[in-house]
């Protein structure tokens, strides 16, 4: 056992001298391998007496552990060095472009309808929908607009051709010409014919007028609102719409003005203006010298309720309607109505919204 210190020293020296993993492995085999020097001494333990073996065994184990520890740390160091050398040779040009991913957009009309919906949802309005092709009853007659009513001149209506009379046409289906709905109001009628009060709905949708110029497109979008119960009055109408306007434009102090107006399906009727300023040619929604008209509204006309089988002596309520493109243009500074329907990729990417910009009241409608 007198060789142990020497063998230990030699083995540690060989580990320290190893410059590669192969040399290190050779050093391990030489010392701790089956035929290694330290292993050889281990075998000699068998020929010793108990006391001697105990002492020698302890020394031998300690030496072996030292060598094994040295081998481990040398191995870690050599591996680290090898990795460093490899990585040192690996280089990319980080300024090269990434693989392109196309970025989609949500159209401002969809986004605006979602914003409007989020606000009215908070006030308990549910969303209703109805058909784009309508009959005269739902679009006009039931809304208190009889055929010769001058108010029909306010609507430039797209008509279809005369329909062949079909058997089984109900009272509502007159067999006359169908049309493209000129407003979302027919869905008021469909809702009231289907549901019993209390009713609170909003109706987003496509609407059509036979008109095309700088400020009119043959198709546009409206959001209609309807509240029917026993006690809702003009004060609620004001409260509801002022709350909406402030939430939608995200301007707490925007002035809101109600002006008497006329719609055949409401009485009393009002138009709603919001305050704005035009300093330096830039339109800003908020307190200011100017007013912008943004929606029409009023208390539902008793004739409309009656036409839907609702007793006007018991029920009353309000209705309102606004142009989606108009409120989107005002909020987002979009200058030209016609561009909404051009499908110009540059416009869609510029004015469109990111897919994850879901309007919520908890997070704020707009980023």
């Amino acid at each position: 056992m007198q060789d142990l210190d020497r063998l230990r020293a030699e083995a540690l020296a060989a580990v320290a001298a190893a410059g590669t993993l192969d040399q290190l492995e050779a050093a391990r085999v030489a010392a701790l391998g089956k035929k290694g020097t330290v292993s050889g001494l281990m075998k000699s333990l068998g020929g010793m007496g108990p006391d001697e073996r105990k002492t020698a065994g302890a020394r031998l184990n300690a030496a072996r552990d030292d060598i094994a520890a040295a081998l481990d740390s040398a191995k870690t160091a050599l591996e680290a060095k090898a990795l460093d050398e490899r990585l040192g040779r690996e280089r990319i040009d980080v300024t090269l472009p990434v693989r392109p991913e196309s970025q989609g957009r949500i159209h401002p009309i969809s986004q605006t309808i979602e914003e409007i919906t989020a606000i009215f949802a908070q006030m308990g309005f549910v969303v209703a929908e109805g058909p784009d092709i309508e009959d005269d009853f739902h679009n006009f007659t039931a809304l208190n607009i009889p055929p010769e009513h001058p108010a029909r001149q306010m609507h430039d209506t797209f008509y279809f051709g005369e329909r062949p009379a079909k058997s089984g046409d109900g009272a509502e289906s007159t067999g006359g010409r169908h049309l493209l709905r000129t407003h979302t109001s027919p869905v008021q009628i469909r809702t009231m014919l289907r549901d019993k009060p209390p009713i609170r709905v909003i109706v987003p949708g496509r609407t059509y007028r036979c008109d095309s110029d700088m400020t009119h497109t043959p198709m546009f979008h409206q959001v209609e609102g309807l509240v029917i119960d026993e006690t809702t009055h003009m004060g609620h109408l004001k409260g509801c719409l002022i709350e909406f306007v402030r939430a939608y434009f995200e301007v707490d102090d925007v002035p809101v003005r109600f002006r008497p107006s006329f719609f055949p399906f409401t009485e009393p009727s009002a138009e709603v203006d919001i305050g704005c300023s035009r300093e330096g040619g830039e339109l800003k929604i908020g307190p200011g010298a100017g007013w912008l008209e943004i929606l029409g509204c009023g208390m539902v006309h008793p004739n409309v309720l009656r036409n839907c089988g609702i007793d006007p002596n018991r029920y009353q309520g309000f209705a309102f309607g606004m142009g989606v493109e108009r409120v989107a243009m005002l909020k987002y500074g979009i200058p030209d109505l016609r561009t909404f329907f051009d499908s110009d990729l540059r416009w869609l990417k510029h004015y469109g919204f990111l897919p994850l910009d879901v309007p919520t009241l908890s997070g704020g409608l707009t980023r």
């Binding site: 949802a121 784009d132 001058p150 009055h233 609620h236």
Partner: protein, 798 residues
């Protein structure tokens, strides 16, 4: 409706200024559309006094004037012939905007002499066309005073009148509303009958039956002889010019004035050209009338005309005839004041496409009780302005019944209008609007005035009260609501929202396109039936309801390509129209991709879009909508607008829920769009509705602790065999162990026999109870091969 401030003051005694009146008009629902106030641009002008005017030393036609501006003495070079010492002039100092040319005046140098201001003509101030020299002010105006303080201007006000308020199509109606609002007092209108001095040689009659008497229930007339139809007096010309009407002759101007002043259209016939009695009757089919606007109208049976023995002389309530119109030579007139039915007037006007101030008023309903008084007032004015003497009046028919009694329960104002208005105030407002108010057991008994045909029921009275009381006075009340609002979207609406965000997240840009398109395009996409045509399209490009959402997006891709964006992806969620009845429409999520799916890139090869891009979009949309893409059968059938060999449908049962594929190159050619374009159409309503679940809890996750393993197989198959058949067969080989099968390689080419292809699949095995032994794995592999071979007739590739 236009009028001027001083015209309004003819009817309204008020000290309210223009701003207050503007505010008041809008507050009571007579929305001010514009005000043209000359004084708005004239704030900078002052009164100057010419102290001295000498000839300019370097110019014969110019004068060098010394002018007192009130603030100092300046010198002004002036070319006006009337510039002379002692004159009071309108002086603009440097910095003043000159309305005529829109320029700001600067100090000038005229022929070597500085001019420190400008003496203005009326035209330079845009106050008239007068440019014969500078304007001369009265000698007593104070020097240095602002021009707006020494001259009075008459601002023009334009309001928009809603269709229910015919009474406000006359200045007097506007004044009455403003007076009720508290902006002054309505001046009384004195109607003093003009005594007739002879019997009218022309009679009037109503040639109408009992059923058609409503066309013209009352017709009043008067013969006036010895008139001289010259120019109107200046005040009348000024009134008409201010609202954009051209003065023509006194007789015509008087009728125009009545139209705007009292909302009472009248007509004057040249009595010399009338033969026999004047009568109101219905036209017979094919009669013609040469109207005052120079056009000849062919009348239809049932249109109301005013005629004499020789035929129609006027279209009742719409336009007069050329033949019996008044000219400067007219010396005898027959004045017509009548009541014409609004509905018939509107129908005739619309049918013949005549717009006139008279039609505009009659179709909204003029005051039925003001026919005879208007005739008296007009007779008086004609005699005053044109001289002559009037016959006794001739009247046929009677005033239509306009009397109404309505009970107003005062509490309804608060219940409906949301504002407490004391009963006394309610009564006062209605009184001021011309209603007769009396007590009633339930509240107030109201008789609306004859000029307010729009007031027919209690809610109309509530509106009148809160309108005049002011909408601003209505307190805003929050809408009562439940503390925690419920979801408000239908499942279908939520699905559309998910699909929208998913498609946008996949790089498609949302667009919104017309619901209509050109007939030629509709035909390419299975539409264009006769009953899907609009009768009155805005243009022939937009004349048919769209049978698919794709064509508008494809043509949009073409327009974008022309602008340099060839590679793009668009989607739209909107209706497709299947039939002409309400409800025959389906909500479609459709999208297209055009050009390259991947552009040139340093790390990857460029790639054109293909049918699998469209398929991926369709499957992603289905997944976003909550559908399970694996439950769909993929069938190589699609409508004719897709490439016949590179398109398919996704079906549930036998029902196609989506189509996808390359757009048919022939269709692209017809749409003049360069390919490739791929697209998909997903019918959202065809997706099954999610089942309502009792709990939101999800099934327990069973995650195996054992490692899954993968094995690959390649098969040689007939080219007609669908990959899906292989995958399904392999999956069926061991439903317990096989977790997934995916086709990952396809080879058709030189090394394969004709009509054969090689398809490689990878099978994922998920041990459930214990690790699989080699023997067990071999056994499963054997079953897989067997199942595929059996199902497809193929063989394992060696």
């Amino acid at each position: 409706m236009k009028f001027t401030l001083s015209w309004l003051r003819d009817h309204l005694e008020t000290d309210a200024d223009l701003a207050r009146i503007e505010e008041g008009l809008t507050a009571i629902g007579l929305e001010v559309e514009g005000i043209d106030d000359p004084a708005r641009h004239l704030g900078g002008f002052v009164v100057g006094h010419v102290l001295d005017a000498e000839k300019h030393p370097n110019a014969d036609k110019l004068k060098l004037c010394t002018v007192d501006s009130g603030a100092g003495i300046i010198q002004v070079v002036c070319g006006a012939p009337n510039a002379r010492a002692g004159l009071k002039v309108i002086l603009a100092l440097p910095g003043t905007l000159i309305p005529h040319n829109g320029e700001v005046l600067k100090k000038g140098n005229v022929r070597g002499i500085e001019s420190q201001g400008m003496m203005c003509s009326w035209r330079e101030l845009r106050l008239s066309d007068d440019h014969d020299g500078i304007a001369e002010l009265a000698a007593d105006v104070p020097v240095g005073a602002r021009l707006t303080e020494v001259l009075s201007f008459d601002p023009m006000i334009e309001i928009s009148v809603t269709p229910n308020r015919a009474d406000c199509l006359g200045v007097r109606g506007v004044a009455r509303d403003l007076a009720a609002f508290g902006l002054g007092t309505l001046r009384p209108l004195k109607v003093e009958p003009v005594p007739g001095s002879f019997k009218s040689p022309i009679g009037v009659r109503l040639d109408l039956s009992a059923e058609t008497l409503d066309a013209c229930p009352l017709f009043a007339g008067r013969h006036i002889r010895g008139v001289r139809n010259g120019d109107s007096p200046q005040w009348l010309k000024d009134r008409l010019t201010a609202i954009g009407l051209r003065p023509i002759s006194a007789l015509v101007d008087i009728t125009n004035f009545f139209t705007y002043d009292l909302c009472r259209p009248l007509h004057v016939f040249d009595a010399a050209k009338v033969t026999g009695d004047i009568r109101a009757r219905l036209a017979t089919e094919g009669e013609t009338l040469a109207a005052l606007n120079g056009k000849i109208y062919t009348l239809e049976a049932g249109m109301t005309v005013i005629a004499d023995d020789s035929g129609p002389e006027a279209l009742a309530g719409i336009i007069g005839g050329e033949h019996s119109g008044c000219t400067e030579a007219t010396t005898e007139v027959f004045l017509e004041a009548a009541y014409f039915d609004p509905i018939r007037t509107a129908a005739t006007g619309r049918r013949l496409e005549v717009l006139s101030d008279a039609r505009f008023r009659f179709e909204r309903g003029v005051d039925p009780a003001f026919v005879v008084p208007a005739m008296e007032l007009a007779t008086r004015m004609i005699i005053e302005l044109c001289g002559g003497e009037a016959s006794e009046p001739v009247i046929a028919g009677t005033e239509p019944d306009w009397q109404k009694s309505i009970v107003l329960r005062p509490e309804r104002v608060a219940e409906l209008g949301g504002v407490e208005v004391p009963a006394a105030r309610q009564e006062a407002i209605l009184n001021d609007l011309g209603c007769a108010v009396a007590e009633h057991d339930d509240g107030l008994l109201i008789n609306p005035p004859s000029w307010r045909g729009d007031i027919t029921a209690e809610h109309d009275l509530v509106e009148e009260v809160i309108r005049i009381n002011g909408y601003d006075a209505i307190p805003q009340v929050p809408l009562p609501r439940s503390p925690m609002p419920k979801p408000v979207l239908t499942p279908g609406q939520r699905r559309a929202g998910w699909v929208r965000r998913q498609l946008a997240a996949r790089g498609l840009v949302e667009t919104v396109t017309w619901s209509f398109l050109p007939e030629a395009q509709a035909l390419l996409f299975g539409g264009g039936a006769a009953d899907m045509h609009l009768a009155n399209p805005i243009s022939s490009d937009l004349d048919v309801m769209r049978p698919s959402v794709l064509p508008n997006m494809i043509t949009a891709a073409g327009r974008n390509a022309d602008r340099g964006s060839r590679d793009l992806g668009l989607f739209e969620i909107g209706p497709q129209f299947d039939g002409p009845e309400p409800g025959q429409q389906r909500q479609v999520a459709g999208g297209i991709r055009a050009g390259r799916a991947r552009g040139r890139h340093w790390a990857e090869a460029a790639r054109a879009v293909d049918a699998f891009d469209a398929k991926a979009d369709a499957l992603a949309a289905i997944a976003a909508a909550g559908g399970n893409p694996d439950s769909f059968q993929v069938v190589a059938e699609a409508p004719a607008w897709y490439h016949p060999g590179r398109s398919g449908s996704l079906r549930l049962g036998n029902k196609p829920v989506a189509f996808f594929g390359e757009i048919h190159p022939g269709i692209l050619g017809r749409l003049d769009v360069k390919g490739p374009v791929v697209g998909f159409e997903l019918f959202l309503e065809a997706l099954p509705q999610p089942k309502a679940k009792a709990t939101k809890a999800r099934p327990l996750l069973k995650a195996s602790p054992l490692q899954p393993l993968e094995r690959d197989f390649a098969f040689i198959l007939d080219t007609a065999v669908a990959a899906d058949a292989v995958v399904r067969a392999a999956k069926g080989a061991d439903k317990a162990l096989i977790a997934d099968v995916t086709a990952f390689d396809l080879y058709e080419g030189a090394n394969m026999a004709a009509g054969k292809k090689s398809l490689a699949i990878t099978v994922t095995l998920q041990p459930v109870e214990k690790t699989l032994t080699d023997e067990e794995i071999e056994a499963v592999a054997g079953r897989i091969v067997q199942a595929v071979v059996k199902a497809t007739g193929g063989e394992l590739r060696g």
